[in-house]
Symmetry: C2
Subunit: 316 residues, 2 copies
């Protein structure tokens, strides 16, 4: 639905901040605990247990359009952050939400957004403990999520020779996956408990940009591009053109699969454990190598940087 109305009737400015917050609180239901843990005071009072914190945003006409269900937008805002917690091998804890609301924003849109956020929060045992509403010409929201990881998985901590893997197929998220994806929390937690895993991150800006970020400054990501699993949507969008398909799996953003590095000597045993746990394999897509003065991303078929490979560079 179009979040912005053409007149004040049913808008957030008609009902005012206090009524809007009451409606949000009602829509959040059991996803927001009672004060002082939840909404209603200057701060939320939470259990001191979180050692992870992350923050992500959605902007109208940038991360969602008028066709998107408000419930899916609310869920997406949380899932983007859940994917960051998954990437660190964590379990999510508490969230606060900042809503930027134009005066003619539909109160019904906000209510449906909050309901979608709440359902997702309950699904993943996240408490929505507070937030802020600010008047703003553009509809946008940011969410900060805390989490807990016993052994946080990080970037830039892998070694030359480690195998690069992804949890699922890539590319073509524009077809809807960017809204409907499942954050890989169980996979991240499983990865964090295995000593053969040396680094992990989630794929949000495209493999071509994210793989060098995982590798860090001293390593290069050497990709076997033909081994990268394409999504059904990527296959459809590129109509069998192998160059376009390679570009789709390398450059499309918002896959929200995990990219991780595994010690070569431990990967077979780890793969058996993985299949026993999840009933399906992960995908080996390349390896890490000493970088020297070369590029951070290498096509193993040519030994050079892949042609036309770029990640999603925001603001450009």
């Amino acid at each position: 639905m179009n979040p912005i109305l053409t007149d004040r009737k049913g808008s957030v400015s008609e009902i005012g901040e206090s009524a809007l917050i009451a409606r949000i609180k009602a829509a959040l239901g059991e996803a927001t605990p009672p004060t002082p843990r939840g909404m209603g005071d200057d701060c939320a009072v939470v259990e001191p247990r979180a050692n992870l914190i992350t923050c992500d945003s959605v902007v109208h006409m940038k991360h969602f359009d008028d066709e998107a269900d408000p419930e899916l937008v609310g869920a997406k805002l949380l899932k983007r952050n859940l994917s960051d917690i998954a990437a660190m091998g964590g379990v999510p804890c508490d969230a606060v939400v900042a809503l930027f609301a134009p005066p003619l924003l539909s109160a019904e849109w906000v209510e449906r957004f909050a309901k979608g956020l709440a359902k997702c929060a309950l699904d993943y045992s996240v408490a929505i403990v507070g937030g802020d509403v600010a008047e703003c010409p553009t509809l946008a929201a940011s969410l900060t999520l805390t989490g807990r990881a016993r052994r946080p998985l990080t970037r830039g901590t892998a070694n030359a020779g480690d195998i690069l893997c992804v949890t699922g197929p890539l590319g073509g998220s524009i077809r809807g996956h960017h809204l409907t994806f499942t954050p890989r929390l169980e996979q991240g937690l499983f990865l964090s408990m295995n000593g053969a895993i040396t680094a992990c991150m989630d794929l949000s800006d495209g493999l071509a940009k994210d793989a060098p970020a995982l590798a860090g400054e001293s390593l290069a990501a050497v990709l076997d591009i033909a081994d990268i699993p394409p999504s059904q949507e990527a296959l459809e969008l590129t109509e069998g053109d192998p160059e376009k398909l390679a570009q789709s799996v390398l450059c499309d953003g918002e896959d929200y699969e995990l990219l991780f590095a595994v010690r070569a000597e431990g990967i077979d045993a780890f793969e058996d454990d993985w299949i026993a746990r999840f009933g399906a394999p992960f995908f080996r897509i390349g390896r890490l190598a000493a970088r020297g003065d070369g590029p951070g991303l290498i096509d193993s078929a040519t030994g050079k940087a892949p042609a036309n490979a770029h990640g999603y560079e925001h603001l450009r």
Copy 2:
């Protein structure tokens, strides 16, 4: 300075996200710790000690205009949150920042904003541990701050008969106090350590809206309006008109003083301790009384709700 440029030269879209984040990181300097505690991974890894979390935002042309120094805007964003931590009697810990950046946003503006944020963060021992940059037609930012309080001060926990007090003069913040205020962290911490204090909050929406929020549903805030200390700016703006002055101290927002309730039998001893600690008094401005079916705010001179008293209702 005007944050929005008229062409791409020097804009965030010219330099791109990666270079912008590098400039922000450089501007933050020692206020952002090294990875994994600071920027650079999917989440920041922090010490699990925080039991408070709060979130506040600033929007261009709403909370600051083109005349405002970017450094002061960055500091204001953090100080609004620090004031919330102060209101709960806490010590601040870690912050994440979401920046909403129009393509023509001046990179210099962002750098100065980050420097002001960093200076304030260092002043109050806050670590800026991460954040997010999203493209957005409107310039805005939200900050989430964690904190630690041994005994969190809350709203709605005072009793009938408790004395209402404020830490400083009110009104007229539009003259500049809304940017230059000092969050009352030392005062909040001192309040939290004294058992005579039964409730506390910070004044951001104006006493007329905030005092009933402190009182809660079963109590009324009975104000001795003549005892409310006016700021120099409120005195100047209202030019000696007593009705306008009463409205200014009751209704102007963004005072960022603390409003707190003290048990009547403990207030004299507490006041002595306070003066010994801070070298200046706080201000008694009324008391709490059983509410019944009456209004949540009462002028003690008339026994009725004050005329024309409203707090700042956002979105209206």
